[in-house]
Structures are given as structure tokens and as C-alpha cells.
Symmetry: C2
Amino acid sequence: MVKESNTLHLKRLGIDTHQEAIVYMRRDCHVCRAEGFSAHARVHVVIGATAIVATLNRITGDLLNPGEASLSETAWLRLGATEGDKITVSHARPVDSLSRVRAKVYGQRLSDLGLAEIMGDIVAGRYSDIHLSSFITACSARKLDGDEIVGLARAMIAVGERIDWGTTPIVDKHCVGGLPGNRTTPVIVAIAAACGLTMPKTSSRAITSPAGTADTMETLAPVDLDLASMRRVVEQEGGCIVWGGAVHLSPADDTLIRVERALDLDSEGQLVASVLSKKAAAGSTHLVLDLPIGPTAKVRSAADAASLGYHLLNAAQALGLEARIVRSDGRQPVGRGIGPALEARDVLAVLRGAPAAPTDLKSRAAALAGIILELGGVAAEGKGIDVAESALASGQAWTKFQAICEAQGGMRTPPCSTHRQPILAERTGRIAAIDNRRLAKAAKLAGAPDAKAAGLELHTPLGYEVEKDSPLFTLHAETRGELAYALEYIDNHPTIIDIE
Amino acid sequence: MVKESNTLHLKRLGIDTHQEAIVYMRRDCHVCRAEGFSAHARVHVVIGATAIVATLNRITGDLLNPGEASLSETAWLRLGATEGDKITVSHARPVDSLSRVRAKVYGQRLSDLGLAEIMGDIVAGRYSDIHLSSFITACSARKLDGDEIVGLARAMIAVGERIDWGTTPIVDKHCVGGLPGNRTTPVIVAIAAACGLTMPKTSSRAITSPAGTADTMETLAPVDLDLASMRRVVEQEGGCIVWGGAVHLSPADDTLIRVERALDLDSEGQLVASVLSKKAAAGSTHLVLDLPIGPTAKVRSAADAASLGYHLLNAAQALGLEARIVRSDGRQPVGRGIGPALEARDVLAVLRGAPAAPTDLKSRAAALAGIILELGGVAAEGKGIDVAESALASGQAWTKFQAICEAQGGMRTPPCSTHRQPILAERTGRIAAIDNRRLAKAAKLAGAPDAKAAGLELHTPLGYEVEKDSPLFTLHAETRGELAYALEYIDNHPTIIDIE
């Protein structure tokens, strides 16, 4: 279907559409006419040996001259285009794997082959946002069973790169989110690496939360390392904390996460496949999975934790990973900060052994690190937590963390917010409950995670006695607009923190 | 949140994104920085008293000067913008009704209030394609029950205009598609109006088929009539055949249909609500619903027809419509043409009483028109079909049809295709089965319905005896690319027409 006459020359318009591949062509262009393209058509764009599928936007004015076309910035980068390049445009082939998605919508199981085809088409950019959203929604409405979850994880691994570290064990951890401020990872990596284990940690950016580990870590050091740089850091320091998306370990997952974020949907099956595909692709062999349980955490009940734990262990085994599940208290945020830079300051306080460091963050990190040390064979059963605490107390973990930051490109100081506003207690009493979800939402409205300094600091944990008009938490924002936005939300939801 | 400082001046770039509202702003613009907008953010754009929600695309080059912004053509039209207008931009409010969609995904019922909120947000443009797709998918995966269907239909009616004709009965018909070429509507309207009934027919464009009635009718007369023009036609001629989208009778439906089309999903509940909301909004009081049943029709079995018929009658009653269901044979296409212009020629042949007119189309149209004449009180029970056949034979219906076309803006001659290719029988035998879906897909790949002359002509109905190498059907296309595309599909699916 590629015809020589269907060629146009590229002009860079510089339109940033985020991850959406758009091709801009004149409405009256000979290719549009010859191929019968309408606006919003899905078309196949080729430069040399590289091809993508893009959505057509038609130019009705003189932004482009006859014979010219343009691409959105993401399409420009994916095609490796340069100004004046010749592109060839034709109808996109029908995306056959969409019939697999429709079958799932109507209640049929997704086969391994079907999942492989879907993931292949997603990483090739053949799914529009409409298609991606339908797949995500179908997997939430029609829960994936154990085999589908394994099939999805395998398909996600297959379409990305997979690291072979040439050694074992490779230890790793993951926390099933929903608990604002629970930023144990940087502390755990520092402890594990300080104790001689290899822990090449790849983390996500936030899906529906005010900060992912990658967002927080980015305020302390660069995290957009490619695979070669990550390998260099790990070979030198035994550990790293980088963004998984930059090393393309599970490129399908990054695309799915963007849409899950827009929908605020997070299904059990997607979650298990997302976590384990990243771990397997990262070459991990031993894995600790932290499941915080609480009424407003992601895992709300012991029953939910049992189901999720079952699927995680089942899929881990199928993928050849040795995993252990840890259930923890998820009734309130961890540490004080919520938002990238604010959480980073809690991490630094724990690593430095600051007297005011949040004790909950410290004890959770030490407990998880202890299990990793045992799993990795550098601490005896039941002794891991003691070894972990020693590594913190001695400063070994802090030294190792600084070395890792330097190796990743240089340690940074987290930014400070420019706009702050304390939220005061409406009466005197004891803190009886904290709504993690609404607190997280307030932090997001204040700008987190895109605004790195934004979020909030929680002053009053569960059980704390407060006076009327004393501060419960302080909002941090980088713009007045976002601060006002978070305040409006808090005004409309006065029961985020329940005082009895 | 609307601040005077958040203003920019409009420059028209002329970018046609189909129905997607996009606002283009410089990446370094003061509003982006002050508000903390990232690419793909959902923002609130205001001109005077008119507001829309749009997706942000950021301009990295010099397409816009500092202080300038632009809008996609659809956003430009919806805001009634003119060059140089001052726009104010702020964060879009969170779309609260999305929590209703999420609850549906997880299995909760949609309440009347929830549906009203969702439809309100959809027509206000607050749903991105990702959100629309999730709603459509959720309603397919979690089938709507009877009350949800009525609630959806009511919500769709409430957000559009509703016509009061000041008279009764107002007759109407609808065919639940899936049967290529089944273009009875223009014939039925002509008969009903010729017999003195009022039949203001609003039709859809194709959802997943090669032609909707509006697409076909558009090759014979203008169909983009506004409400005032439609009223004038109906008052003058007693009937019309116009596109429902242009009269804004169910604007939410038009948006949903665009996404259903991209997904190739068509759920029972959406279908019932879509059909009946359009009928109620159009002021119809008496309604005939044609349900063709066949293995590759939209309704595949008697059981499916029973369920759909139940929901249609149940919802019709709740909405105050008198409805009758007709089940018909849906094992093969109707008439010869599939595609807008090709179907229009079949319609003309029936109305003109041409000797070669397709008898199946003629008899189906007469049967349905007969029931409408009885429902509308202008024919005795059991005599409707005779009256209908007389109106055709006498030429009254043909005269009326021409008058309606003239009143709609002038009768047109359907266009002829420029590229044709017969598909030949691979062996001698009898036509045992026809795959409506694949035949429709071939017609779509050939360019229908966007290319009006495209589609195919079927030469061999069920039971027909063919010789090897005689033509089964002829493909019609307006471009070589589309013809080649349909041929490739047919090569890959040799069993579209089964010869035994």
C-alpha cells in the first residue's frame, strides 16, 4: 500500500501532544485526496525503515505549504525525523488485536496469544487513546484470572528489554501503593547495597498518587538513566534507584499507566502484571512485596490482601521469581511529607539519622530491608532487621546512598515550595482517622507530582492530640492557582482528618 | 480560579482535529507557568460567557508569539471565536461524574442522577476520548439493566433539544442495523407522507456499518438541516429524512457514536437508549422497530431478539412511546448496493417502480410501511401493506419523495465510483451463506461511508446458482488505495460468500 506518490516533506511545527502521535497534513494535499483520509483517520507514517501509526489532523490554512507535512514532537522523536525528511503516508492496517479486546469486553478470557498481540500492537503505537482506554476498562470490569495475569506479565516482558546481570541473587522490593509518603525504597536500596547485595531498583512515576518513587528520587538525583548507565551504576555501587520507563523495561506498562492515570482505574490484574513484568525484566530473582492494608489504602481489607497476595505469588512463581509478601499497617500516611520533594526530605532525615526523622518510615524501611537481607542470604533468618538497623545507625547506608546519587549523575537538593498554607484543626481532640485518598488528592491538586516541591506535610498522625486552630497539615504549592485549587477541595471535604 | 492575568489572544492556526477540543499554548507562556500546566492537561477555556474544556498541546517553537494561543477548529467553532479574541485559561475542574463511571466499571448500577451527570458532562465537552471510551466499554462489559437503559435514554433526551410538533400521531421507524443495504427508510417515509401521515425522520450516520440512512440520503438531498428547516420541510410535505446530529436532538449520542465506531462496540443498552432518545426527542409518538435476525446480523438469534425487543418495548413505554416490534429475515444483505450511493440507487429503483428494482427491498419497505399506516390510523388492521403497495404502484410515493428532496434543498444524483473490480466465484455451485459482517467490512475498506460512491454491489443472493468465474459482487471505490485495501481483505477472507 506504500506508493511513491504518497510522499511529503517534513516541516517541524513543534507541537507537543504528550505521548500522542499526530501527523499534520493539508486538507487539500494530494495524499489526503488520493487515500481518502478524513480528520482523525489512523495512518501509517514511514521514514526509511522506521514506521509508526499516527492520528491525522488536517490543516485548513497555510501553516503548511503544499507538499509539506508535520508531526507532533513525540512522533518526530519516535521516527528520528529531521527537517525536510521525506515521509510516506498510507492507511494504517486494521488492528486485528482489537477483536481480542472486544471479546474480553463481552466476557471471553484473554489467551496468551491474544495478550501478546495486544501488547505488540500497543508498543508499536497502533492503539489510539480510545483503544487503550477500552482495554484498561475491560480488564477492570472483567477481572483478569490467574492465567490471564501471567499471560499479561509475560507479554509485557516480551515487548521490552530484559536485563541479565550475570549474577544471583538480584534482590528487589515493591510496595502496592495507596499509602501517601511511604517512601521506603531509597532507604532499603541503600541498606541492601551497603550490606553487599545487588539491588538494581527501577521505580515508577506516580499512577494515581501524589508521588512515585521515581518522582521523589528525581529530586535527589537524575533517574532517567538508560540501560548502559544503570548497569554502570549497579556494577559500581551494587544498587540504583532509577525510573523504569527510561530503561524501556516494560514500555507497554508505561503506556497503560498513562491511561490508567487519566481514568483513575487500577485493577488487580493490571497491577500484578505491571509490578512483576518490571521486576522480571529488570532481572530480579528475589522479591519482597509490601501490602499496606487500611480502609483508605489501595488494599482495603485482609480479604483483598489475600486475593492480591495470591495472584502476586502465583504470577511470581510462574515467572520464576522467589517472592515474599509482607502485610503492613496502611491506616495512615508514612512519614511527614506527601509529594516528591517533601518525601525526599523524610528519606534524607532517616538516612542521616536525624533526631527528628520520622520513626514510622525508619522502622518500616528497616523491617523490609531485613527480609531482603535474609532472602538475599546476607543475614540469618530472624536477624535481618538487626543488620538493617546497624547499617542505618553506622552511617554505612547514608554513605552508600550518596555514592549511588553521585553515580546516577550527581546528588541534588530537593526544591522548596513558594506557596504554603497551614490547614488548622476545627476543634480540640484526638486524631481518629485519616483519609489517605483525599489527603493524596489534596496533594495532587496542589501540583504533585508534576510540581516537585508541591504536596503537603502532615503534622498529626493517628492518636495525636490536637488543640483547636493548631495546624493539621501544611499545603505546599509552586503556583498560587494550584494552592487555591487544593484549598477549594479541602473546604469541600472537611473530614479528611477526623478529630474525636 | 479565573484570573485576569491568565489571558491570551487567539491566532487561528486552522488545525482540524475532528471533534477533539485542543488549545495550543507556548510551552514558555506565562499562563502555562503560572498554572503549572503540562502537555495533555485538561484546561478550562473561556471567551466572554462561553466556556469549554480542552486538552492542552504545547508549542515548543515559534508557531505562536508570546501572549498568543490557538484552538483546534472544533473548539474554535464551539466557542464562536474570532481572530484576536481574548481567552482566559485555567485548570479544568475535576469531572465528578467520572466516579460514577468507575463505580459502573466495578459493577455498581448507574443511577438516574449518575447518568444525568455523565450526559451533562459529555455534552459540555468535559470527557476526553479516554473517558468516553471507558464509559462505552463499561456499559458493554457490565450490561445495562432495564432501569439503567431508561435512565440513559432520559438523560440523553434531557441534554438535547426536543421537538413538539403540536399534532399526533407522529410516526417513526427504526431498523436495528447489521444488515447491509437495508435502506427501507426513504421508501417508507415517502409512502407514509403520501398517505397523509406526519413522519419527521431523523437518521444516524453509520456507526460500524458501510452506510447509515443519513449517509445514503445525503447522496440524494441535503440532510444537514437545522431544526427550523426540518420543521418547514415537515409542515410542507408531511415527512423528511434528515441527519439527527444536525438538529442536535441527542448531542450526547453523536459523541458516543463516534467512540463506539472507533471501538466497533455496540451494546444492547446503548443501542436502545440511542434509538429511543432520538425518537422521543424528535417528538415521535408511534414507532415501528425492525429487528432483522441472522447469524451475521446485529441480532444473531431469536433469544437476542427477545431480549432486545423486551428492552426496546420496556423503555419505549417508560418514555411514553407506542412501539411495535417486527422481526425480519437477517441472513443476507437487502437490495444490491452496499454503500451510500449504491444503496441510494436501489431506493430510487423501488420508488420509480423500475422493473429491475430489488424485490426484497421493495417488499420489506411495503411491509413496514403497512404497519406504520395501521399504527397511524390511516389503514385498517391487516390492510396496511395493500395501501402501502398501492402508494408505490401509483407513483404517489415517488412524487412525494421528490417533493421531500426538493424541500430539503434540492434533489441530487448519487455519485458514481471511479474504481471498480468484480470478485469472481471460485467454483460453480449454489450460494449457501453470506457473511454480512465481512461483506460490510469489505465495503468499508473500499471507502464507505466517507467515500459516498464506494462500497459494493452484490450480484448473488442466497440460493442463487453461480458458475465458476462469474461475478459474486463488484467492489466500488473512489481511490486506488482503498480499492487495493478492500481487495487485500477479500483475499485474506475467501469465505465471505459460501458456495456449496
